[in-house]
Amino acid sequence: MTTPRADAETLPAAGLRQPLGAPRLRRTVRQRLLSHPLAVASAALLLALALLVLAVPLIGMALGVDSETPNLLTRMQAPSSAHWLGTDELGRDLLMRLLEGGRVSLGIGLIIAVAAAVIGTLIGLTAGYFGGRTDALLMRLTDGIIALPRLPLLIVLAALDVTKLGLPEQWAHSPLLGFWRIAVIITLVGWTTVARLVRGATLSLREREFVRAALALGARPARIMFVHILPNLAGPIIVATTLSVGNIILAESVLSFLGFGIQPPMASWGNMLTNAQEMMWSAPMLAVWPGVLIFATVISCNFLGDGLQDALDPRA
């Protein structure tokens, strides 16, 4: 097979000469990360946002507002002491909607990122360790998925009638279906980055002395993959997963915006913008806030991922 593609992913892992858990390395990594002001600020912002969205019920009680009760008498109000950011097109408190939406968007971002990292790691380890035909087949699949136009496929997957797949009727009407459907379909196409990364690194690691030593001692493939190789890949996997959270939040928000993702009345930053285009004449701020939050969250994930990369892999 003549695939003229350089394996850029083989490089990062080779830089880690010591497992992540070693105390001296851990200290160096922390120091390097702290010397990256944007990454530190991003981590702080993400942490603050996570605490805020977890505290939504408390905040709602304290302010005496919730995100669900529509009130047609108070539609599209300007910010006031009762509604700090004003109200939306159905008279619901905008701040509470934004926090609820953040809960959904951040939750989806984390769940999918972890699920995709697990799947990608398993596939990458298998392909890289066993090599040969297994590797060729799995990497063909991975490259194929990477090459496809992603959004059109996600739209079709999101439009599928789940009852035709044999799922029970009451499932199809449950409000949580939108949430889990998005989680599953983005995971289906999202594991490829980690898989390529892990596969590339495994290819070089399996030739190293400590792996050969383990092999000579009679360790089984599963033990070598998970006990000997995997710990060496912790750094690159953490970096790739952090970077993927941002992309996943973007994908979720665009699907929800287009009406194929999280379904109202459940709030997500994406579906809060669905109606914004029609209301940009009358209530422009409704279109501004959700976007600002998506932007801030995604750029923070990217800065943090970049900082982690510098900290964990100083050669890059």
Binding site: A6, G144, R150, P152, G291, I299
Partner: protein, 317 residues
């Protein structure tokens, strides 16, 4: 070389064939079917009528049989009728395909025209103010949600300044290039802004790698001018890894085109896919999905061939 091209072309066609089956299966899982839609339009149809119509359309056959039937018709140029447009699917799709290729092509060219010089400058002075500013804007471009950026641009240029048309591919009555161009400005600009960041970072890292090579030091020692060093020696080598990753960006570019087409009501393939899926226009959805997959796969192929052409070290069996 010819053999390599033929082999890659055959592979691409095989993937496309595989994808046509996957897409066919997925479309079959979309809500309802053509007869259900007739039923909602005409409640007088009986269950027996429905069964007879389904048999007539072959909808009672197994998936593989229906697929083979579809494929043999498609290979003879019959892609069926679009329910929503009342036109043969092919006639709906072809002009829209050109609209999308125009949108994607313009935006790619502009993005590269920005990303290559800026990435070279950033890599030439790592850690400088220019490098940091370029890096920051690349991150901003990669992180901004495209649909939100497009809405903000609409608010600025169409609502407040009233200088650009809010939607459409052309104005009714007005004809000519200037009108088409005015409708293209915002879609192209927004698509460029969100794709340029990734290109910038790729160019920068490929250039950084290239500038570390020994031949750069040699060239420098020989007294080669700065511009020639950067663009003649380093960039030529940096283009090789860059083209590889560029191939992976076509899918992203198409996804972006879908978003801007939807927001600016620009009649391209992306909007066609969206409308066809949302409106249960099965034939149109099938062909437009397959065609956009083909466009993306062929762009990948082109990038692979460019890679082979750029790197003389690679020999092909």
């Amino acid at each position: 070389m010819t053999r390599f091209i033929l082999q890659r072309l055959a592979e691409t066609l095989l993937v496309l064939l595989l994808m046509s089956f996957v897409i066919y299966g997925l479309i079959g899982l979309m809500p309802g079917d053509p007869i259900d839609l007739m039923l909602t339009a005409d409640p007088k149809l009986t269950t027996a009528d429905v069964a007879r119509l389904k048999a007539l359309q072959g909808l009672d056959q197994p998936l593989v049989d229906r697929y083979v039937h579809w494929l043999s018709a498609a290979l003879q140029g019959d892609f069926g009728y679009s329910r929503s447009q009342s036109l043969p699917v092919w006639q709906v799709v072809v002009p829209r395909l050109w609209n999308t290729i125009l949108l994607m092509g313009l935006s790619l060219v502009i993005a590269l025209a920005i990303a290559i010089p800026a990435g070279v400058q950033a890599a030439a002075r790592p850690g400088s103010l220019t490098d940091n500013l370029i890096n920051l804007s690349a991150f901003a471009g990669m992180s901004v949600p495209l649909f939100w950026l497009a809405i903000l641009m609409l608010m600025l240029f169409s609502v407040h300044l009233r200088v650009l048309p809010a939607s459409g591919t052309f104005s009714v009555g007005a004809d000519g290039i200037a009108d088409r161009a005015r409708h293209l400005i915002m879609p192209v600009l927004s698509l460029t802004l969100v794709t340029v960041g990734a290109h910038l970072r790729y160019v920068r890292s490929a250039m950084t790698e290239a500038l570390r090579q020994d031949f750069i030091r040699t060239a420098q020692a020989k007294g080669v001018s700065r511009g020639r060093l950067l663009y003649g020696h380093a960039l030529r080598n940096a283009m090789i890894p860059f083209v590889t990753v560029l191939a992976l960006e076509f899918g992203t570019l198409f996804s972006g085109a879908l978003i801007v087409e939807q927001i600016f009501a620009y009649l391209g393939m992306g909007k066609t896919i969206y409308d066809a899926v949302a409106g249960n226009d099965y034939n149109l959805a099938m062909v437009s999905l397959l065609l956009s997959t083909a466009v993306v796969l062929l762009s990948n192929l082109a990038a692979d061939l460019a890679y082979a052409w750029l790197d003389p070290r690679i020999t092909y069996r």
